[in-house]
């Protein structure tokens, strides 16, 4: 089958999307006021370390001043990557000899 790989990939992603929706519903119900679910794992590790009384010995030289600006840089990162991938795949495909 020609699109077998695409189908498998789609199914896997869809499965996890459904699992996410179900767990999210459960988590949101049990969430107290002011609490926020779906934080980053990196941050959780940092909290665990700080709970042991550790103080980070240097701070980042620059921090995005708000969540919006942080997401700007994340999207920028994804956009740069996607642009390069799309460009070269398009280039390769365009150079292919037309199917007879």
């Amino acid at each position: 089958m020609k699109y077998k790989a695409e189908l498998i990939a789609g199914t896997v992603i869809l499965t996890f999307a459904i699992i996410f929706l179900v767990t999210n519903a459960a988590i949101q119900q049990n969430l107290g006021e002011g609490e926020e679910a779906w934080g980053g794992a990196d941050g959780q590790a940092a909290e665990l370390i700080e709970s042991g009384g550790y103080e980070p010995w240097v701070a980042p030289i620059w921090e995005p001043p708000s969540g919006e600006i942080e997401s700007l840089f994340f999207s920028l990162q994804a956009a740069i990557g996607a642009l390069i991938i799309g460009y070269f795949f398009g280039y390769y495909r365009g150079r292919q000899k037309p199917a007879e």
């Binding site: 990557g81 991938i85 070269f88």
Partner: protein
């Protein structure tokens, strides 16, 4: 898998730099050779690097109620080997450390080791082993990329455990605690990453199988077999 700025005390951050540097130097030389000898593979290198860029920018929710991101290094490890991949990971990690305060410059050595060296080494050897026993190429790529992603996070948990052994129970107890945070969240994401990389692999075989043959990633026979099965 980012260890945040300042979260590795002396001497650990220096140790991880010292371990990472030889890989980066070797990667630099391999990259130079690639640029001189296999110019046709350079666009593919750009794609592999861009792939790390895209995947590591996507913070995905996992089943555990927290978010983490895939690494995307499996593709480049399979195509170009772990040394070249360590350079690509370095570029991404510097970007994230400087612009996003995500990870950090002092923890760069440790982060390069987990994302750019440990994971890719696993991906590379798993792929080569799978090739030897002529496992289906896509299954092979999927397994290599998934395990590599997962291994990256296991290594991060190990790095933090070494630096922060629990007061009771020592390194193993804290390794387990970090593993719960990182590795379990990562399982679904690793599977998604593996599937996506296998899919991209299919497209590369579609457009430029000759480069894969010249990089010794696939034999001409394997390419022919895949092409036949597709039609």
């Amino acid at each position: 898998m980012h260890i945040m700025e300042g979260f590795l005390p002396s001497p650990w951050w220096q140790i991880w730099f010292l371990i990472a540097i030889p890989f980066l130097v070797l990667g630099f030389y391999q990259l130079k050779r690639l640029f001189a000898e296999k110019r046709e593979a350079i666009p593919l290198l750009a794609v592999a690097g861009a792939f790390v860029f895209v995947l590591s920018s996507l913070k995905l929710p996992s089943v555990t109620g927290s978010c983490s991101h895939p690494t995307g290094t499996g593709l480049s490890a399979i195509l170009f080997g772990p040394f070249v991949t360590s350079i690509l990971a370095l570029i991404v990690l510097i970007y994230q450390a400087i612009f996003l305060a995500h990870g950090g410059l002092t923890t760069l050595g440790a982060n390069v080791f987990s994302m750019g060296i440990a994971g890719p080494v696993v991906a590379y050897f798993l792929y080569q082993a799978g090739k030897k026993i002529s496992l289906n190429t896509f299954v092979n790529v999927f397994i290599a990329a998934t395990i590599a992603d997962l291994f990256t996070y296991i290594v991060t948990a190990g790095q933090l455990a070494l630096a922060f052994p629990a007061a009771e129970g020592g390194i193993l107890t804290s390794f387990y605690a970090f593993l719960v945070i990182f590795a379990i969240t990562q399982v679904p994401l690793a599977i998604i990453e593996g599937v996506i990389i296998a899919l991209v692999f299919k497209y590369i075989i579609d457009v430029r199988p000759d480069i894969l043959v010249s990089l010794n990633v696939l034999s001409q026979n394997a390419v022919n077999r895949i092409k036949e099965a597709a039609t």
